[in-house]
Symmetry: C2
Subunit: 192 residues, 2 copies
């Protein structure tokens, strides 16, 4: 249990056996069926989720009913509404499972206590957020500077797993375009 979680943790901050045992007492496993919510807009995000298995998405739905995907999550990634988690404000995102999933939850109190007790947990947290920041910056840069075709090509080169496992209309919602436009872009790319 928690294999992947500790594999990732040890990459970022190598742990002793006792430390692992200690951390385990703070973790909660959770299974999610496809289409089930982990979090709904308006609720407070009570935990950070590490993905052991499956695929999830964080998204919002605007006034006109369009969904906008903020983040995908696959095995080894972390997903949450971090703003809500940190501030206790109601979440502005929904998070649900695109595939059946197995998660490792870290509750707010567990997070805070681990930060206080275990410097390696702060390192783990710092490196996670740094990685997420750099990934998001890459995404943002490509949005403001690359033409659409390049953007999609870059995305599918960087995240082939997502392209394989996630329906196209969700990728369109992630890229900020309509499914029709994405379909046409794919055709243009494949005909070259």
């Amino acid at each position: 249990m928690y294999e992947l979680f500790f594999q990732e943790f040890n990459k970022k901050a190598p742990l002793t056996g006792e430390e692992e045992t200690l951390i385990k007492t703070y973790l909660t496993p959770k299974k999610l069926r496809r289409k089930q919510y982990l979090l709904q807009e308006g609720d407070v995000c009570k935990a950070i989720a590490f993905i052991e298995k499956g695929a999830l998405r964080a998204y919002s739905v605007d006034d006109s009913g369009d969904t906008h995907i903020i983040q995908f999550g696959l095995e080894g990634w972390i997903i949450s509404d971090l703003y809500s988690f940190l501030t206790g404000e109601p979440a502005t995102y929904n998070i649900d499972a695109i595939e059946d999933a197995e998660l490792v939850l870290i509750s707010k109190s567990a997070h805070e206590e681990l930060l206080r007790k275990l410097p390696k947990y702060e390192t783990f947290t710092r490196l996670n957020i740094t990685g997420a920041y750099l990934a998001m910056q890459k995404r943002l840069t490509s949005i403001i500077s690359s033409p659409l075709e390049e953007r999609y090509a870059g995305f599918s080169a960087l995240y082939p797993e997502i392209v394989q496992r996630v329906p196209q209309h969700m990728i369109a919602a992630y890229m900020g375009l309509t499914p029709e436009t994405l379909s046409r872009i794919r055709r243009r790319i494949s005909s070259k």
Copy 2:
């Protein structure tokens, strides 16, 4: 010296006098004239810069000569090409001063040593990157989900300082549009 820097540091992780003295030995002040580079694309980013005074921008220039602004920085903010700083790869951004500026530099070796020696510095770093992550997520969300007018209105409500101090064509480059389009949006907004 370093007033604002320690003010911000103490907000995130309160320091003793000795700790402040220690940290000061790792810091380097730097002044920058308007239009001077702090970093040029292709060079390795050797330091993180905390802005005591002035305004800077991080940006890239694409093949067709268009500039794309990744980040603005004002007093109290941190600016760098973090990816280059952390990996030692050549920077993909330029950073220069929009106004004359006073900076506090933290070199790579200083950063690493402080992380090792002083847990509070890791906390400071973690909270900085977390704040930057949340700010960028807000920006990204508004890009993929809000219509242009709303995006500009949201931006100028959130960062009135930037709107006042930075030329409009740079704000256009930050939002991923042409100066002409931004000018038209502003007119539409003001005529309501």
